[in-house]
């Protein structure tokens, strides 16, 4: 592993550069194809509403992937992410229009661990809702 971030140069509270990820229906279609997750609630409004959702929602795994980019962009080597976990606290509703939804992602170093590893906490917000909770990655620094 060869991360670009040095363990000695980060502190608890060090912020990762925030990013905003636009999510449109086409992104859900692409993710469905690439991941093989064709659950109807991610592309079919009729079925999404029938099961009690406000409309089509993004794949939780897509949100997790986008939020993870904050960490991999920061560290450089994606292989330096040795653990990554999230709780999907709210769905990301993606309307069928030209705007879609936006995922605002921020992150900070939560803990410095042994073996030059750090725990990073990621916050992902869409609309006013926190869509992930306990989103944390353990990252091997150099």
């Amino acid at each position: 592993m060869a991360a670009l971030v040095r363990y000695d140069e980060v502190e608890v509270g060090t912020e990762l550069p925030g990013q905003a990820f636009p999510i449109q229906r086409v992104n859900l279609v692409m993710y469905a194809g690439a991941s093989g997750d064709f659950n109807l609630i991610h592309w079919n409004d009729r079925v999404a509403k029938a099961v009690g959702l406000p409309g089509v929602i993004g794949h939780g795994m897509f949100t997790m992937a986008e939020a993870g980019r904050l960490v991999t962009d920061w560290v450089g080597d994606p292989g330096a992410v040795v653990e990554y976990g999230v709780r999907f606290s709210k769905p990301v509703v993606v309307p069928d229009d030209d705007t879609g939804a936006t995922l605002q992602v921020t992150g900070r170093v939560r803990k410095k661990l042994d073996d030059r590893r750090v725990e990073v906490e990621v916050t992902a917000v869409s609309g006013e809702e926190k869509v992930l909770s306990q989103a944390r990655a353990i990252v091997q620094l150099v």
Binding site: G33, N39, M61, R69, D77, G79, V86, P91
Partner: protein, 150 residues
């Protein structure tokens, strides 16, 4: 009908090994909009110390599709994909998934709970090379809304 504890310990093994291809990684990285060269350029990945292009951290979900599909379609569980919501996901890696890996996976049901009319099923999927090297453990929690006719 709600799920009960009798399903804890039930396990499913991938029908066939999954061969990780460079182009599949490129497609997946494209779908998540990630231009990291470690996903596309073997030389860039090698500079980071990897043997070939590596997969994004959430790519392991693709490998688990076989066994999670078996779980969802197990007739004895009576789940339905559109009544399933993903509650939690965690990946722990011993090393990154790398192009050329031939991986097998086994999913085990770790627990069943009930809350607000939902079944909460926790699963653990171990992803290993066909030679037995553990690469990733994926922990999932699924919320399942049982059919109304229960």
């Amino acid at each position: 009908m709600a799920l009960d504890e009798s399903i804890v310990g039930r396990s499913y093994t991938a029908a066939r090994p999954y061969e990780v291809g460079r182009e599949k990684i490129r497609d997946f990285a494209g779908a998540i909009g990630d231009a990291n060269p470690a996903y596309r350029d073997a030389d860039a990945a090698k500079k980071f110390g990897h043997g070939d292009v590596i997969a994004p951290p959430t790519f392991a979900i693709v490998i688990t599709r076989d066994t999670s599909g078996q779980l969802i379609t197990d007739p004895e569980l009576r789940l339905a994909l559109h009544r399933v919501l993903h509650g939690e996901q965690r990946f722990a890696y011993t090393r990154p998934i790398t192009a050329g890996d031939v991986l097998t996976s086994t999913l085990t049901i770790d627990g069943v709970k009930h809350s607000k009319g939902m079944d909460i099923v926790s699963t653990r999927t171990e992803i290993a090379t066909v030679d037995g090297e553990l690469v990733c453990t994926a922990l999932s929690t699924l919320f399942h809304r049982p059919e109304d006719d229960s």
